[in-house]
Symmetry: C2
Subunit: 257 residues, 2 copies
């Protein structure tokens, strides 16, 4: 079971879009994939599940982390075979203070996932909020790998050094097996800026940058309002092609081209 | 003095880009503008000031909020007349926990700005991080108005109801004068999605949506890597035209067209 945290404290760089569509791409290849929405905004939950039925309070990752409920009791099946979701909940916004005095507050998710056993899923993706607070730390402590979603623009690139330092600290103090699984270039445009940032990042990270780049494609931005991942919404779009190629590259560990 | 918090917990929607370029647009009209970088990522600081000289530790908004230093001692002049910045600092990331047991932790910025007196600046913009935690709460408690930067896409629109509720709570419990100054449509594309979201938001917020829309323009994304706002980097670009029109609309309170 590969547990992968999708992180970047820079906002709006395609963390949720990548978690959903890469997850769906791997499920379409026959893998069993669990997506955990660690973001109080709940965009991944919105995208694949929509609102909880009126008056009900479906279990969420809040129950897993704060109440200690088992993961398998909190997951919801999507319409796609092999793709399940542990939803977010607005109460997650208060987790930082709710858990401030809890011993081992940074490893609550790690221990919850440990109960699953090593073969429950092939992939677990942890979609993180745009910060390096307690929720992202829980994801980094629970993960084997980090995927950095990176919009190829100036501000997103500037944030990489702070992100590197945080990953390094988590590896040294909490999770020695944590490694950089790869950098996913997202929202790639045919502009000079995109090319310059890509070259600079590739110079620094080398082959840890996935060969597959996810191009800007409006179908990817439309899909959430239809409650579908890209393969159900626009299977012939460039967005579907890019995430299918990325799924192949992630699975086979080499360039998908 | 108009104190304006630029907020949206959704990441990457143009909060920083709007704070910098609307601020610069107003300074070019002869106004005295202060920009305060409330985001630990420090993108506004990166954009206009770059790195602090090696080995020095310039004062920051951390000193204002946590150490109680006067604002005027922490501000830095930019190259643009009338445009000053209170920089961010990485330590801000720890503010939520540093201040957890401080009485009145949500109004520290409000009290610091109160010391400035009503005529120190014409405009003060508070660039917020992509969350509704303590730093954004400080901004909402200190502000007279809220500008919501809104990318015209699905996830950004979904976040509006949670943002409304937070603004309402702050108004009722901490800052009775807080009002919605306006919604700035950013990263506007000539797509059906952009149009549909704009229409839906206009239907809900009516004339509280600024008439001026900021179109997607790569010059706006290039400007930060040159350390310049749009008027110095690409004065003839659509980005400069849009932020100049927005500055006029903000100042004159009516449509700039
Ligand atoms: N390749 C793409 N092409 C077009 N639109 C995209 C692409 N990737 C993401 N988007 C859109 O860009 C916006 C930001 O993406 P997304 O919400 O996935 O980023 P995020 O990093 O998860 O944001 P946050 O930091 O708020 O969690 C969304 O409106 C999304 O639909
Ligand atoms: N109108 C625009 N045209 C082109 N690029 C833009 C525009 N507005 C913002 N950008 C770019 O989009 C990205 C997101 O914008 P920005 O960083 O200002 O958003 P933000 O809401 O401040 O993000 P965060 O939530 O991380 O603080 C940046 O790379 C910025 O340069
Ligand atoms: Mg997200
Ligand atoms: Mg910003």
């Amino acid at each position: 079971m590969r547990v992968i945290a999708v992180v970047n404290q820079k906002g709006g760089v395609g963390k949720t879009t990548t978690s959903v569509n890469l997850g769906a791409g791997l499920a379409r290849r026959g893998r069993r994939v669990l997506l955990i929405d660690m973001d109080p905004q709940g965009n991944l939950t919105d995208h694949l599940l929509g609102d909880a039925p009126e008056g009900t309070d479906r279990p969420s990752v809040y129950d897993v982390i704060v109440e200690g409920k088992p993961v398998l009791e909190c997951l919801v099946e999507t319409g796609t075979p092999g793709l399940s979701v542990v939803p977010s909940h607005e109460d997650m916004a208060g987790a930082e203070l709710d858990l401030a005095s809890v011993i081992g507050r940074e490893v609550l998710l790690r221990d919850a996932l440990a109960e699953l056993g090593p073969d429950a899923f092939d992939y677990v993706f942890l979609d993180c909020p745009p910060s390096l607070g307690l929720l992202s730390l829980n994801a980094l402590a629970a993960a084997d790998e980090v995927f950095i979603a990176l919009q190829t623009e100036f501000f997103a690139m500037r944030g990489l050094s702070a992100l590197d330092r945080t990953i390094d600290l988590v590896r040294r103090r909490i999770n020695p097996r944590l490694r950089l699984g790869g950098i996913v270039a997202t929202l790639v445009d045919p502009t000079r800026l995109s090319r310059e940032v890509t070259e600079e990042v590739r110079g620094h990270y080398g082959d840890r940058m996935f060969t597959t780049k996810v191009r800007t494609n409006v179908r990817l931005a439309e899909a959430p309002s239809h409650g579908k991942h890209i393969f159900d919404y626009a299977p012939d779009s460039p967005g579907a092609a890019d995430y299918a190629a990325l799924a192949q590259e992630v699975e086979e560990g080499r360039s998908a081209l």
